[in-house]
Amino acid sequence: MDAVLKIEGLQKTFTLHQQGGVVIPVFEDVQAEVAAGEAVAITGPSGRGKSSLLKLIYGSYRASGGHIRVRNKSTWADIVTAAPHEILDLRRSTIGYVTQFLRVIPRVPAEIIVAEPLLDRGVDEGEALERARQLLAKLNIPERLWHLSPMTFSGGEQQRVNIARGFSAPFPILLLDEPTASLDADNRSRVMDLIEDAKAAGSAVIAVFHDENERHRVCTRDIALN
Amino acid sequence: MNAPNYNFAYLNEQTKRMIRRAILKAVAIPGYQVPFASREMPMPYGWGTGGVQVTAAILTPDDTLKVIDQGADDTTNAVSIRKFFVKTSGVATTEKTEDATIIQTRHRIPETPLTENQILVFQVPIPEPLRFLEPRETETRKMHALEEYGVMHVKLYEDIAQYGQIATTYAYPAKVADRYVFDPSPIPKFDNPKLNDCPALQLFGAGREKRIYAVPPFTKVKSLDFEDHPFEVQTWDLPCSICGAHGSFLDEIVTDDKGGRMFVCSDTDFCAKHQDANS
C-alpha cells in the first residue's frame, strides 16, 4: 500500500517560560510511516507523549525538529514547515482528528456540529445533514436531541457527538485520541465499526487506545514511544 | 430719502465686493455653499441677515425691490426689510411681482412666474441639508465633495417608515444640475418645482451660517424622492376664500374660537391681482 504519512526524526520539547524556562523533552527522534487503509496504534507509558504526537501531526503543536510529511492528493506537504493556510487546507480535506472532548459552541445544534466538516467542504446542506443524522442515530443519540445544542448533554453524549463529527466527512488520514474512553460496551463497538469502515474506505488510521483489545481489533502495527 | 450717514445699501463697497465674489462663485458652481464673511447687520439673526447682505451687494439705484415674508408684502419682516433698503439706498419698491427686478423672500417663491430680468434672493436659516444627520461640518463638506448623498434618502426613508409618506413639507432637499444636493430654504415643497428651469437667477444667503449659494437661470433642480414614493406637492380641495384662485399655495386662517377657518392665498400680490381680475 502507498504511504500517506511519513514522520522523520520528529522532535518535541516544551519550554515553560512561566516556570523559570524549564525545558521538558517529549521525544527526540520519532520515525514512522503509515499507508492508506492501515491502522497503526501509538503505544507507550502514560506521559510519554502519545496525544502530543497526534497533535503534532494535526499541527496543533509545533515540532521542535524533524518532518511530518503528509500526502495531499499527488503532492507532499510537511506539517512542520507548512504555512497556516496549508494546514487549514489539509484539515479540511486530508487530516481528520477525533478526541473524546467536544468543544461545545452555544446554540449550535448537534446535527450541525456533526455536519460542519461536510459543509466546510461545500457539501450541500441537505446531504450533509442527512449524513449527520445517520451518524447520530448510529451512535445512539436520541432524535429529540439532534436539534439541541450539546451544551446540556451528558459527557458521554457530547463525546459521541464529537465522534460523529470526526467521522462525518471521509479523511485520508484519521487521528484518533482514545475515541472510546468512557463509553459503554454497545457504543464502543459502534465506534469500532466506524473505524473499520473508515479503514476499509482507504483511510490511514493513527490511534491512541487505552484498551488493548480494541487496539488489537483494528490496529496491525504499533508506533512505540518509550 | 437717502440717509446720508450710510453708504448706498448700508454695506461698504469692500464688503459688497467680497459678497459679489462669493455670489459669482456660487453661480459658477450651482448648489455649492460658498463661505463668505457675513457681517453684523442692524437686525437680529433669523430676520434675514443673509438675504439682506446678498440684496445689498446686488442692488443698483435703478432696481425696483419687492420684499415678501411667507408670500406677504405686509408682514413685519417684509416691511422692516423694505424700509431698511428704502432708507439706505432710496431704490423704488413695489408689491407687484412682475414690476420687481429684485425680490427678497422669506420662505416662498411668488406664484407669478419669474422672468430673466429678475433676481430672487432667499433668506436661509440652515443652509446645510446634511446637517440633520451629520453634525460635523468637516464631514458634510467631504460628503458634498464626494457626492455621498445616500444619507439624504435616509431622512426621506424615516418619513415614510413613520408616516407612510414623505412628510417633509418644507425645506425639501433637491439636487441642482445633477451635482450638489441643497436646501432650498424653508419654502413649502409646493414651490420646489418652480426652482427648476427658472428664468430668474436665484440666490440664497445664510447670514448666521455665513454661506451663499445659487441656482443660475434655467438650471435643472430635481427634488429627491424614491421610485415608489415620487415627489408630490400639496393640493387643496377648495379654492382661495378671497380670490377664488385654484392651484395657489393656501394658508389656513383661524377665524374664531369655534373651529371656524378659511384658506387664502399666501401670495398677497397674486391674490390681489386675482381679485381685480374677478371684479
Binding site: T15, P84, H85, P106, R107 | G150, V154, Y157, D225
Partner: protein, 256 residues
C-alpha cells in the same frame, strides 16, 4: 486560496511613541484572523491602519478589489476608499454608537448603505432591511425603533446587519463582544460565526478575550508593545504557545 488583504511592515508611530511596528501578514478570502493582546498593545492602532481609518507611518497594505485589481490602499483616492468602506468592507465597533446612526431607526441604519450605493426604491430597501434584521434576530416590529431603545447586544447585532447588507467581503471588528453580558456574548459570537461561514466573509477581529479568538478565528496574532510576538493557527497558539508572553496570557485564562 487567494489573498484578500496583505500587510507588509505596517507601522504607526506617534512622535517617538510606537503604536505598532513591522506587522506583516496575508489574509485570505473567508478567513478569520484574531489579533489578541492586552490593552495598549497596539492592536486597535493596527486595525485602524489596516482599515484605512489611520494612516500608517510605514509599510503598505494591499487589497484585492472586487474587479481583481490588487491596490495599495494608500494609493486610493479618498472617494474610492470611502466607497470601499461602505460596500466591500464592514466595521463593527466595540461601542455601537460609533458604528450606528443613533438618530434614525434601525431599519434606516441598515438601509443607509443601500441608499449610499444608489438604491432608490423604498419598498425594496425596506424588504432588504427587514431581511437582514431577521438574520441578526431582530424582529420586524422593532425595525422602526431608534437604536437608543435597543439593548447592548441588539445594537451590536444591528451594527452587523448594517455592515453586511452590501455583501462585503471583509469585516473589521474591534472587541465586538466587549462590554456585553456573557450570555449575550455567546449569542453574538455564534451569530457572527454562522454569518462568516455562510457568506464566506473574511474578518480581522481585535480582542483581548482568548475565548472569542478561539471561537471565531482560524489564525491568531499575539501583540505586545506594538509588535507581533507570535502568530499561528489559533489552536497552535493556544495549545502550544511559544513566546513567554503568550504562555502567560494563555495560562492566565480562568477555567470554569
Amino acid at each position: 486560496m487567494n489573498t484578500l488583504l496583505s500587510a507588509r511592515d505596517v507601522g504607526k508611530t506617534y512622535g517617538r511613541r510606537v503604536g505598532c511596528e513591522n506587522v506583516s501578514f496575508d489574509l485570505h478570502a473567508g478567513e478569520v484572523l484574531a489579533i489578541v493582546g492586552e490593552s495598549g498593545s497596539g492592536k486597535t492602532t493596527l486595525l485602524k491602519c489596516l482599515s484605512g481609518n489611520l494612516q500608517a507611518s510605514s509599510g503598505e497594505v494591499t487589497y484585492a478589489m472586487r474587479d481583481g485589481r490588487n491596490v495599495n490602499l494608500a494609493s486610493l483616492s479618498e472617494a474610492e476608499r470611502r466607497l470601499l468602506m461602505r460596500t466591500d468592507w464592514g466595521f463593527v465597533h466595540q461601542d455601537a454608537r460609533e458604528g450606528l446612526r443613533m438618530g434614525v431607526s434601525a431599519g434606516a441604519n441598515v438601509g443607509e448603505r443601500l441608499m449610499a450605493v444608489g438604491a432608490r426604491h423604498y419598498g425594496r430597501i425596506r424588504d432588504q432591511s427587514e431581511d437582514w434584521l431577521s438574520r441578526v434576530e431582530i424582529s420586524k416590529d422593532r425595525m422602526d425603533e431608534s437604536p437608543w431603545a435597543y439593548s447592548g447586544g441588539m445594537r451590536q447585532r444591528l451594527q452587523i446587519a448594517r455592515n453586511l447588507v452590501t455583501s462585503p467581503r471583509l469585516i473589521f471588528m474591534d472587541e465586538p463582544t466587549g462590554g456585553l453580558d456573557v450570555s449575550v456574548q455567546a449569542r453574538l459570537l455564534d451569530l457572527i460565526r454562522g454569518l462568516v461561514r455562510k457568506f464566506n466573509l473574511a474578518a480581522i477581529v481585535v480582542t483581548h478575550d482568548l475565548a472569542v479568538a478561539r471561537l471565531l478565528s482560524s489564525r491568531m496574532m499575539v501583540m505586545q508593545q506594538g509588535r507581533v510576538i507570535e502568530t499561528g493557527l489559533t489552536d497552535q497558539v493556544l495549545e502550544d504557545p511559544q513566546a513567554p508572553y503568550t504562555q502567560l496570557l494563555v495560562s492566565s485564562v480562568l477555567q470554569v
